[in-house]
């Protein structure tokens, strides 16, 4: 995503990649006025342009996210957008729209441009993270395990690669841009759905550039909303509704929200409620305008699910940081797989460690707690005195132990020897601060320990097991008096 990293190249990108973009010159200053938006736009424009010279639908989907997110950007004056724009399915970027109102004629005929702009503006509004996610996911999951309905659509070109042009209809494109794919970027990008009333405010404004456009858009919107599109107002950002209204004002749609909300209300009231609560539970206080992609089921369920997946993909990002080795993993199923493996391994480690502790400390009276606490509090397992060096040990020890443990906890004397040998080798290799002597005498130390413990009769009632690393409890316990 070169575009993401190159906000400043917005103007150049626009001019460069948008031969049809009449408004390049005019839009540039606009962009300047909205630096954030422009940045986003640039980023997205770049992407869009690369993917799709005349990307219409692709940017649409993306745009939707943008449009939704930055309500303030939607405040563009769609009114001025003229039919030319509409024809091209151009979407003035919300950010630009503010500036554009009076330069409607100059709006690029490229619908993709508009879409991109809308997206950028909306993205800049603040859901950049979400935007980024889709982008990341775009490349990652071309075949995303998302509901087929979304993917089946021809306009769903966005899969993974973002901005394929879904369709070339002007108003439809607009609708598409508004279409909010949920989690993955491609979903967002899918702008393929026919949009009837669900145009994002920007879109409505946009289509409203000319009355005809807006009328058309409205009509189509209404029709669509009745048919396909479902518009879930998921609370994303408090600004969005107001923005939406502002945008709609231009295109006579004050009600762009209204038809949308009406459509939504009709279709997804129940779900919406759930969605709202869900989203609020999700700690996201934004309105996500979700539009179904063209031909997709536009009932509230699918849209809600998409939004949910959007959130999920965000979370997956976090999880990627948590789970080691997940950075390159793409795709939900694989990520889930990694997560499952990691959780399982952690749980096994806990089991193993508890067993180890059970064997090491027969009475569980952990006199070491003070020691341990101190160490933990101070150094967080960092090197701290002798213990610090020793800390390095368990990590390797544990690995070998884990391997052995997993081989079978009921491991017996034989395994304990093997374990001990492994441990000893580790000891020798690590030979930390206080470990030098023990390490050198590693082989004997363990046995000595055992003997010592046995002889001390630490706890005659309970069997004594020394550092058998949890792998020899039964054997040793029985062996010792």
């Amino acid at each position: 995503m070169a575009g993401d990293d190159d906000p400043t190249s917005l103007s150049s990108d626009w001019t460069f990649n948008n031969p049809n973009d009449l408004t390049n010159t005019s839009s540039n200053p606009i962009w300047d006025h909205h630096p954030t938006n422009s940045q986003n736009l640039g980023a997205f424009c770049d992407m869009n342009m690369q993917n799709n010279a005349n990307a219409s639908s692709s940017s649409l989907g993306f745009w939707k996210g943008n449009l939704v997110a930055p309500p303030r950007n939607l405040d563009m004056c769609w009114g001025p957008t003229d039919t030319a724009i509409k024809r091209g399915g151009m979407f003035l970027p919300p950010a630009a729209s503010a500036m554009l109102p009076h330069s409607s004629s100059q709006f690029p005929a490229d619908s993709g441009f508009i879409e991109r702009a809308a997206r950028l503006s909306s993205f800049s509004a603040g859901s950049f993270e979400d935007v980024i996610n889709p982008f990341g996911n775009l490349h990652e999951s071309s075949l995303s395990p998302y509901p087929s309905r979304r993917q089946v659509q021809p306009q769903d070109g966005f899969v993974g690669n973002g901005f394929k042009s879904a369709s070339s209809e002007g108003s439809k494109e607009m609708a598409r841009t508004v279409d909010y794919a949920t989690n993955d970027g491609h979903q967002r990008i899918q702008g393929g759905s026919s949009f009837s009333g669900n145009n994002l405010p920007g879109e409505t404004e946009f289509s409203g550039g000319g009355d005809e456009n807006s009328n058309e858009g409205l009509g189509s919107k209404k029709r669509r909303s009745d048919q396909d599109t479902d518009y879930n107002h998921i609370k994303r950002s408090p600004q969005t509704p107001s923005e939406v209204t502002k945008n709609s004002n231009e295109g006579q749609q004050n009600g762009e929200n209204n038809p949308n909300s009406v459509a939504n209300a009709n279709k997804s009231s129940g779900k919406h409620g759930k969605q709202v609560s869900h989203s609020s539970d999700a700690q996201k206080e934004e309105y996500i305008h979700v539009r179904a992609r063209r031909g997709q089921a536009t009932n509230s369920h699918s849209l809600a699910e998409r939004v949910r997946r959007e959130k999920i993909s965000e979370r997956m990002k976090f999880l990627q940081d948590l789970v080691p080795g997940c950075n390159k993993v793409t795709g939900k199923a694989v990520m889930l797989d990694e997560i499952i493996n990691y959780v399982q391994s952690l749980q096994r480690q806990v089991e193993f460690l508890s067993m180890k502790l059970a064997t090491v400390n027969p009475r569980m009276d952990f006199n070491l707690e003070g020691l341990l606490k101190k160490d933990i509090m101070e150094s967080r397992f960092g090197p701290s005195g002798s213990l610090g060096a020793d800390m390095a040990m368990p990590y390797t020890l544990n690995q070998s132990q884990m391997a052995i443990m997993q081989g079978g906890i009921s491991g017996v004397g034989r395994s304990s020897d093997a374990v001990r040998r492994t441990v000893n080798s580790h000891l020798v290799s690590i030979s930390g601060g206080g470990f030098k002597d023990p390490a050198s005498q590693a082989p004997s130390t363990w046995d000595d320990e055992l003997h010592n413990i046995v002889q001390m009769g630490l706890n005659p009632s309970t069997p004594i097991s020394s550092q058998n690393l949890g792998s020899t409890p039964p054997g040793h316990l029985k062996a010792e008096p």
Binding site: V350, T359, P362, L387, Q467, P474
Partner: protein, 194 residues
């Protein structure tokens, strides 16, 4: 990760406290019993260290409480806060579960209908369907792994899993260091347990 260090401290304190309670109650235990107790204490300590902010911790505690003998331990360990929450959350969880289930049923019915409709490009459909199935299966597995995961929808499941992983890490670290310290002290000073 200041939060994790806080969690670490909390967890350690509670764990050790639990262990002390444990061993004061029973003197003679075999290794497996001890291990269970240790693990139980660790789990409860971990869950309580979260102060019942996450649903997995609540689920974990409620599971532990189900066994009669653990209840005392749990109560002692937790103090007044969690048990109260547990009572509240049980109906919550069942309600959650029902809601999730009904949602799933709805989804299933809808998706079936949609799938029937969209037999257009079978290839992509099939691939998508396969991918979806994979994801479903894995989420099911994850649900089983994460305590209390059955009654969560996908999104919160992932959130919980995230949190759970963090806490598990903390738990593993603490246990590991304690075990190691025990070993070290065993080696250096065999009289420690004397």
């Amino acid at each position: 990760m200041h939060t994790s260090s806080k969690l670490t401290k909390e967890f350690t304190k509670k764990w050790v406290k639990g262990l002390q309670i444990c061993c004061s109650s029973k003197k003679n235990m075999d290794v497996l019993e001890r291990k269970k107790k240790i693990k139980l204490c660790a789990d409860i300590a971990l869950a309580s260290a979260k102060n019942a902010t996450t649903s997995w911790s609540i689920a974990l505690i409620s599971e532990a409480k189900k066994e009669g003998e653990n209840e005392i331990l749990v109560d002692n360990l937790l103090g007044p806060e969690s048990p109260f929450k547990q009572q509240k959350t049980i109906p919550l969880m069942s309600a959650c579960h029902k809601r999730v289930r009904s949602k799933k049923i709805l989804k299933r019915s809808c998706s079936v209908g949609q799938r029937m409709k969209k037999m257009g490009p079978p290839k992509s459909n099939l691939a998508i369907y396969i991918a979806k199935t994979l994801v479903k299966k894995r989420t099911q597995v994850l649900q089983r792994l994460v305590p209390g995961g059955e009654s969560m929808d996908e999104f919160s499941l992932i959130k919980e899993a995230l949190d759970y992983i963090l806490s598990l890490r903390v738990q593993v670290d603490v246990m590991r260091s304690l075990a190691h310290a025990a070993e070290v002290s065993n080696q250096s000073d065999p009289n420690v347990f004397g």
